[in-house]
């Protein structure tokens, strides 16, 4: 036996013994060496969640080979990454990457085509439909995972060039209620504070968020803050006991859909004990109801809350009365309280009201403006804020997130864009009437022959609505019949429905700006080339602009260098919004190129460092020149919600209606949905990364032990989970620390009989039109004992030619 093998064996034996004995070992040096030598590290952001971790991607030989955190980051402080972010670079060189345009032939088979052929077809169809069915018959459906430059370009093309507001995006399915909540409560979208408030807070209220799995790096900051400051109190309010509860001082259960009663109950308790900040309420609060036009009195508010006794709350929500009282005390008596929430409050039949009620708690206790205090809505996608909300790429908005119905703002944008000169729509104006929100859009999408479907064509990017829309069966046929163009990097369920599939460049192959939850915009540089003929979205938008006669409107359409296109689009965008409270005028492209921390708006000029805290004089530059932004701020006001008349935040009287789908004897369980740490959205990327796929290879249904016993179901059994809309066949996972009557199914599986959106309720919030993914009434029936599951399911290139989903 040669010496090296002998030594290796001895080292391995010793290492094993050391581990067993519980002592550290230095003999691991045999394996611990830098595996790969990196040629250069390229700055950027993580492609995934709304935390906005900044990273460096490692490049060697023209390929992405590694990823590391940016140690200077203000978001993922100290450069931490989660398991998804650490591995996301593996997506770039995956063999399943789409590399050529595809056109579906008469037999339903997607055939490779040239870009010229694909774009010619798109041009022909768009012009035909514009003429025959009107400018609103062609829609764009975007994504919070496209860059800001791309979203802005498509938005301008449609609203300025086609005179159509048929632009919406997948943030409609996740953030729309938070947007409407901020607009109605505070007057302007997006948080007042930032992540920096985490380390300054004394109480943290985590509600409607599984922070440990959905925003793990922020969870790390919260956990570390608590570890370093034992006096910090964390309240976790959720319908199932997730890993987030590991840091809770107080864990409050609440049946899905019922927590509005808890928030009103906490407010009642706070006021009853005189724990509210009377001065703050007087100077910066305003009681109102409904759409906020009518002002009411404090007495009206107190009377409204009488119903929400701790006993009432307990009966309604399952949250113990004592917990409501304890939570109220922790919330109100701390020096600074930070609330963080996500889909648990947004994806609800009354999501906007849930948001309003959290803002209420902050107004009545004076928890805005000071360090550590804020009502912070966590964004799910990496660029829903920067790319869709801030550029106004939703059916009812314009850049700066101002409503298209606002005449003054609309006229300003028309002037800035030169709509009167360049638009191909005879109206030569931006349409004052909002377009269709996502669910309505896809409900109205269909073939030419179907007169009930006014939308005949849609181009969509970086999103997968054939898997993500609620009650998705309702929408698949329409997508297949209409002229559907899908821009993506991998085969997906939506690409399976498409008439044309266009291969897209991945983030690190094109570069661009992402703006995260804390209003921070960060530029990713291009690191490697896209494979095959894959192209950046901005190039695709530019080709459409050229073919539709809109090169004057989209001034960068004739550029060939993507970086130059991005820069021109960005510059156009920040010029457009320079006089809004979301100004990024100081975040020039060259500044973003150099910056390793990004820029938080408002940032009116290059000298301004960016804004940590809004609505506070000395921290928010809007105070320095409010007239410029169309606001009036009294000279003596230290804190002022300037986007609201008289600077007062709204305290809304909101009920706790039962608008979610109700259970019945036929459908006795409440199904709620959510994420797992290792997977992202519909799994098109993370199911192709070995590590994340292995960690969660297929969906399951979590059932409470007691419910399982009643149904005579054991761990691993296969069951049918069914609503009035559809069903899934899933393996059972028995849990013993979550609520009876509540089951949980993750959202990531693309296997047809495990796609949870076949089951999900399509009730939407009446104000925001965001669907209620969190509450569906279902029944469970046993199918068989444990069986081997074909996990890691992926829609293949071949399956894209089939009409049915397998």
């Amino acid at each position: 036996m040669e010496m090296s093998r002998r030594n290796f064996i001895k080292s391995t034996l010793a290492a094993s013994a050391a581990v067993a004995a519980g002592i550290s070992t230095s003999s691991n040096a045999v394996a611990q060496s830098q595996e790969v030598v990196i040629e250069r590290w390229v700055k950027g952001v993580c492609r995934l969640c709304g935390t906005g971790c900044s990273v460096y991607v490692g490049v060697k030989g023209g390929r992405l080979v590694a990823m590391k955190g940016n140690v200077e980051s203000m978001t993922n402080t100290r450069g931490y990454l989660c398991v998804k972010g650490m591995n996301i670079w593996k997506v770039a060189h995956h063999p399943d990457r789409l590399t050529r345009p595809l056109i579906r032939d008469g037999k339903g088979v997607l055939r490779p085509a040239s870009w010229d052929q694909a774009l010619t077809l798109i041009e022909k169809k768009f012009k035909q439909f514009h003429k025959k069915y009107g400018y609103d018959s062609v829609a764009y459906y975007g994504s919070g995972q496209c860059t800001t430059e791309e979203s802005y370009t498509f938005n301008k093309l449609w609203k300025g060039g086609f005179g159509s507001n048929m632009v919406d995006g997948n943030p409609r399915l996740c953030m729309a209620s938070a947007v409407a909540g901020y607009m109605s409560s505070l007057g302007s979208d997006e948080p007042a504070g930032a992540y920096a408030d985490i380390e300054k807070s004394e109480t943290i209220f985590l509600v409607g968020s599984n922070l440990s799995e959905a925003h793990p790096i922020l969870f790390r900051r919260v956990a570390r803050h608590k570890k370093d400051n034992p006096n910090v109190k964390i309240i976790v309010c959720e319908p199932r006991k997730t890993l987030t509860s590991a840091v809770a001082d107080l864990w409050m259960p609440s049946l899905p859909g019922t927590d509005l009663a808890i928030f009103n109950g906490m407010a009642r308790e706070i006021i009853k004990n005189n724990w509210h900040d009377k001065n703050y309420v007087k100077t910066l609060g305003r009681v109102t109801i409904g759409d906020g036009s009518k002002e009411l009195s404090w007495a009206d508010y107190v009377k409204h809350l009488e119903k929400y006794t701790p006993q009432y709350v307990e009966r309604k929500t399952g949250c113990p009365a004592a917990d409501v009282k304890a939570a109220a005390k922790m919330f109100a008596k701390s020096k600074a309280t930070l609330s963080m929430w996500c889909m648990g409050l947004n994806q609800r039949a009354n999501g906007v009201w849930a948001n309003n009620l959290i803002h209420n708690l902050h107004v009545i206790t004076g928890n805005y403006g000071k360090p550590g205090a804020d009502a912070f809505s966590l964004t799910g996608q990496p660029n829903a804020c920067g790319g869709v909300r801030e550029t106004g790429s939703l059916a009812h908005l314009l850049p700066g997130a101002r409503p298209v119905a606002n005449k003054k703002w609309r006229e300003f944008v028309e002037g800035y864009w030169g709509v009167a000169k360049y638009s191909i729509n005879p109206s030569k104006a931006i349409n004052p009437k909002p377009g269709m929100h996502a669910v309505k859009l896809f409900s109205s999408l269909g073939g030419e022959k179907d007169k009930t479907k006014p939308v005949k064509a849609v181009i969509m990017s970086t999103t997968n609505p054939a898997q993500t829309l609620p009650n998705v069966n309702k929408f698949i046929g329409g997508m297949q019949d209409a002229f559907t163009v899908v821009i993506d990097i991998f085969p997906t369920r939506t690409a399976q429905c498409a008439s044309v599939v266009l291969p897209a460049a991945f983030l690190y192959e094109k570069g661009g700006v992402f703006g995260c939850s804390e209003r921070r915009s960060f530029l990713t540089d291009k690191a490697v080339n896209a494979p095959g003929e894959a192209k950046a979205d901005i190039w695709i938008a530019s080709q459409i602009a050229k073919r539709m006669g809109l090169t004057k409107l989209i001034g960068w359409a004739n550029e060939t260098n993507i970086d130059r296109m991005n820069e021109l689009a960005w510059t156009d965008y920040i010029g457009c919004t320079a006089n809004t409270e979301k100004t990024l005028k100081g975040a020039t492209y060259s500044r973003l190129k150099k910056s390793t921390v990004g820029v938080q708006w408002p940032c009116p000029d290059e000298k301004n460092p960016g804004t940590y805290k809004r609505y506070v004089r000395g921290m928010d530059p809007i105070f320095d020149n409010p007239k410029r932004y169309g606001y009036t701020i009294p000279a003596g006001a230290k804190e002022f919600f300037y986007a609201r008349p008289h600077g007062k935040a709204n305290i809304f009287l909101r009920d706790d209606p039962d608008n979610s789908e109700q259970t019945s004897p036929a459908y006795p369980f409440i199904m709620t949905t959510g994420r797992v740490l290792e997977q992202w959205h519909t799994g098109s990327m993370t199911m192709r990364i070995p590590e994340t796929a292995a960690a969660h290879p297929h969906s399951f249904v979590e059932i409470n032990e007691k419910d399982a016993n009643r149904l005579k179901i054991k761990n691993g059994d296969i069951v049918k989970v069914e609503s009035v809309r559809g069903y899934n066949i899933l393996p059972v996972k028995i849990v013993n620390n979550t609520l009876e009557g509540v089951i949980f199914v993750p959202m990531h599986d693309q296997k047809a009989d495990r796609m949870v959106n076949f089951i999900c309720s399509d009730i939407v919030d009446p104000k925001s039109a965001e669907p209620d993914y969190k509450v569906s009434a279902v029944k469970i029936t046993k199918v068989s004992g444990p069986k081997k599951i074909d996990g890691r399911y992926l829609v293949s290139r071949q399956e894209m030619n089939k009409k049915t989903f397998s």
Binding site: I9, A31, G79, L677, T692
Partner: protein, 128 residues
Amino acid sequence: MKHIFLSTTILFIATVFAVSVNAIEQNKHPVPIDDKSCATCHEKGSTDEMKAAPEAYTQWDTSLHKLNGVSCITCHGEESTFKPQSTISTCASCHSIEVDSMKNAETCSSCHQVHTFRPLKGFKSPHS
């Protein structure tokens, strides 16, 4: 006689171990994983047929890594990318400040007990 008994008993154990050491050499997980979770075999009290040394899992279970979602797969990969021992580049993905501060190129596990990752007592942290 006694030593023959010892021989044969140990021989059985050793054959299994020899197989597993060979597997370590080839960077292969010794037995097929079949998309099971690591806990299925490695958690203490596992009732799976193929039990495996639970000490490492128990140590990890009480660690901050577990709290922060850094699971077995993060450092050891999955079946096709399996590494019995993690490499410093994995640690550096999150801990590049600490890795860069170690100019003597000492390995992390010299001072941080695998898998609790707690530093050994009596040490002054060399990281800035």
